[in-house]
């Protein structure tokens, strides 16, 4: 049962915090507009994926302990990122399989952790937003959100309610963009090839706007489109849905 005024802790994510606070504020606005009370635990740093995906379980667990402690006691934890929400929702409990108490706490936290858009639609029952956006947008499905959390229709549902926005499906929307966290650092040439293929698909749609739900993907795709000289505005889907696109330049764009 959803409480009448849900207390939501925002997991802002390290990339949003460092690179694009606009997304964090857009998330807060969307949550508050939907009737939530939003708090931002001050001691959050990162969900721990870089360590986890590098095989460093010890550091991952240390980080996870901090996250679990900081985010306990809320009705929900919401992140504007499928991969961070997925990390907490899917993987935290597994880290503590040999520690029954932490396992319980991790599971409890995981069960209440959601990606932003799917939270709005699936949990709060939001069916539309009051925003307007004049443009042709195409949407990339970030892998973790899609495959771990089932984020697929929800952003499309909300985008269709945005006045003036025309949504074009991206062929290969579900194909990985090549970011993969540490992957783009360890294997930059493969990453570069994958994002090049993705950019070609994006350009071929004729869209003037690219949207997605994860900053890593967005920065990766924005960086490639920009390097290739395409004038496509890249934004986090929350910015469009919250109607704050006038407040910040697109990702990688000049102010």
């Amino acid at each position: 049962m959803v409480p009448s005024k849900p207390r939501v802790a925002l997991f802002v994510t390290c990339l949003v915090d460092l690179f694009r606070p606009t997304v964090g504020f857009a998330a807060v606005k969307l949550l508050e507009d939907a009737g939530c009370v939003v708090e931002v635990p001050a001691s959050q740093t990162c969900c721990g994926q870089p360590a986890y995906n590098s095989g460093d379980k010890a550091d991952t667990k240390a980080i996870a302990r901090n996250v679990i402690a900081a985010f306990e006691g809320y009705d929900y934890v919401v992140a504007p990122s499928g991969s961070c929400a997925g990390m907490i929702h899917e993987h935290y409990a597994r880290l503590f399989e040999d520690e029954p108490e932490m396992f319980q706490r991790a599971q409890h936290l995981g069960n209440r952790t959601h990606e932003l858009i799917s939270f709005l639609v699936d949990v709060l029952g939001v069916t539309g937003v009051a925003a307007a956006y004049d443009g042709i947008a195409t949407y990339h499905d970030s892998c973790s959100g899609l495959r771990e959390l089932g984020v697929k229709q929800q952003p499309r549902t909300l985008l269709r309610s945005v006045e003036g926005l025309s949504l074009r499906e991206l062929p290969g929307a579900e194909t990985c963009c090549g970011f993969g966290g540490t992957f783009c650092i360890k294997y930059p040439d493969i990453s570069n090839r994958m994002v090049g293929d993705k950019a070609a698909d994006i350009v071929a749609t004729g869209a003037d706007t690219l949207l997605a739900g994860d900053m890593g993907c967005l920065m990766n795709m924005a960086g490639k489109l920009s390097r290739e000289g395409h004038k496509i505005a890249v934004r986090h889907v929350a910015e469009v849905l919250a109607g704050v696109t006038d407040e910040a330049a697109p990702i990688g764009g000049a102010r």
Binding site: P21, T45, C176, Y187, G196, D197, G223, G252, A254
Partner: protein, 474 residues
């Protein structure tokens, strides 16, 4: 074959720059993926069959010794022989011994990844035999002295011009002016040439997609029929298979067969699915005089009971390769050994060691597409992560990367220090990148900025702004 997995990064560079390879890989993208999707859409029970496949294999693995013993008993009862090989070398020697027993010269081969794994062809050649691959793709790469680049379509990295070239160079008894530019012409030529070899062969060696414990049968799955000609015409049929190929009953094999072709090529069923039980029966007009099964361990029994056991469910369909964006970019040879793609990334370190093959499980974004299409529901990214854990414990990752990670983790575990560092970085980088909104070059970020711009931070971290707004509101 000598692994080059340790040179993965160099292999990748070569592969990305190879225009012919990239052209060939482009063909792949539209073929297998769309066909599999159509086949799956046509079978409402597909998801349930995947669950069943996993259950059959898990049950079998838990009782692997029992089923192998039962299989052996039934092969023997049908007049066949079972040989057990712990290592690649043992398997090679067993096969050589069988070949020598009939003074074999020509040995035809159905497609067998296990035979690649044990480097059988080179060995047989060194011993004076003539192994001839009969699967068209395998034949082509045998002529080119190459390894297969895909587990079901070995020559997928080639364009037809390359096939024409090697046929002209090899089939020198055929008229020079003959047309060979179309796949039809190339296929007809291979059919004629290989038909001679099928008939000459003293021994035929196939792999096995399944070993049936209940009946002592071996199962091969082909579209060409080459496996059938390989096993029916010569004096001896040798089946080379790894331990985990066994399934309990004919019905169990059938359940998994419903997944195999659909996952591989999108066919409802492969053209030739053949169950073989023992040698020629008294009164038979054809069939091999002897039937031998060589069961190979080579690391499988050691995978049982470990976090890699699930990999033993693999039925070698290639769906994971076909859907992997990394494989699609670099092709199979970059992986440096027999098994490429996601399944290769999990299996190879088990078989040849994580020191040699460590790059493979690292070269993944964990997008999860492989797991989503695996008919046997193998959790491939999870096992790749386990390899990364093993490498981390053994300090195998490159030093600069480990140092960077350690530094980042140091901050991430200390919220106050992290806050300080992040706020500072946001300001500094934000200021530096303010005009353009992105960096085209940044120290330490060469891998990224080599091919793409790096968006600049907005300038003040979210947390700093949030705290400021909270203070104002208060």
């Amino acid at each position: 074959m000598q692994p080059t997995s340790h040179a993965f990064k160099a292999n990748v560079r070569d592969a990305l720059g190879d225009e012919t390879l990239q052209r060939a890989l482009g063909n792949m993208k539209t073929g297998f993926i769309g066909k599999r999707l159509a086949a799956v859409a046509r079978l409402p029970e597909f998801e349930a069959l995947r669950d069943q496949g996993r259950a059959i294999k898990n049950h079998t693995l838990e009782h692997l010794d029992f089923y192998l013993e039962t299989f052996e008993r039934n092969v023997t009862q049908a007049g066949g022989h079972v040989h057990w090989a712990r290592t690649a070398e043992e398997a090679r020697q067993i096969i050589l011994g069988i070949c020598r027993s009939v003074d074999a010269k020509t040995v035809t081969k159905g497609k067998s990844m296990i035979s690649e794994e044990i480097a059988l062809n080179d060995f047989l050649e060194a011993e004076g035999l003539v192994p001839v691959e009969t699967d068209l793709g395998e034949y082509i790469i045998q002529l080119r002295h190459e390894a297969p680049s895909h587990i079901i379509a070995p020559a997928i990295h080639l364009v037809k011009e390359q096939v024409e070239e090697i046929f002209r160079a090899t089939h020198t008894d055929l008229p020079e002016g003959r047309p060979l530019s179309e796949p039809r012409e190339l296929t007809d030529e291979a059919r004629a040439v290989l038909r001679r070899r099928f008939l000459e062969a003293d021994v035929g060696i196939t792999g096995a997609n399944f070993l049936i414990a209940e009946t002592g049968s071996t199962v091969i799955v082909t579209n060409e029929g080459n496996g059938d000609l390989t096993q029916t015409l010569p004096k001896i049929h040798i089946v080379l298979a790894s331990l985990e190929k066994v399934v309990p009953t004919l019905e169990d094999a059938t359940g998994i067969l419903r997944l195999l072709a659909r996952s591989a090529t999108g066919q409802e069923f492969s053209t030739y699915t053949t169950f073989s039980t023992g040698p020629r029966r008294p009164g038979d007009l054809d069939g091999p005089g002897e039937f031998h099964v060589v069961l190979l361990d080579n690391g499988r029994s050691a995978m049982l009971g470990t976090e890699f056991q699930d990999m033993l469910r693999c039925i070698r369909c290639s769906a994971c390769l076909n859907h992997c964006p990394v494989y699609q970019s670099v092709g199979g040879h970059a992986y440096g050994w027999v098994y490429p793609g996601p399944m290769g990334s999990v299996l190879t370190p088990s078989l040849i060691g994580v020191e040699e093959a460590g790059n493979l499980p690292n070269a993944s974004t964990f997008c999860g597409k492989c797991e989503s299409v695996c008919p046997m529901r193998i959790p491939l990214p999870k096992m790749m992560r386990h390899w990364r854990e093993r490498e981390f414990e053994q300090n195998l990752a490159p030093a600069p990367f480990r140092a960077g990670l350690k530094l980042w983790a140091f901050f991430a575990k200390r919220p106050m220090l992290y806050r300080f560092g992040a706020n500072l970085a946001a300001k500094l980088l934000g200021r530096l990148g303010r005009d353009a909104g992105h960096f085209t070059r940044l120290p330490l970020a060469g891998g990224w900025t080599g091919g793409r711009d790096l968006p600049a931070p907005e300038g003040k971290s979210f947390m700093e702004q949030w705290q400021a707004r909270r203070r104002e509101a208060a």
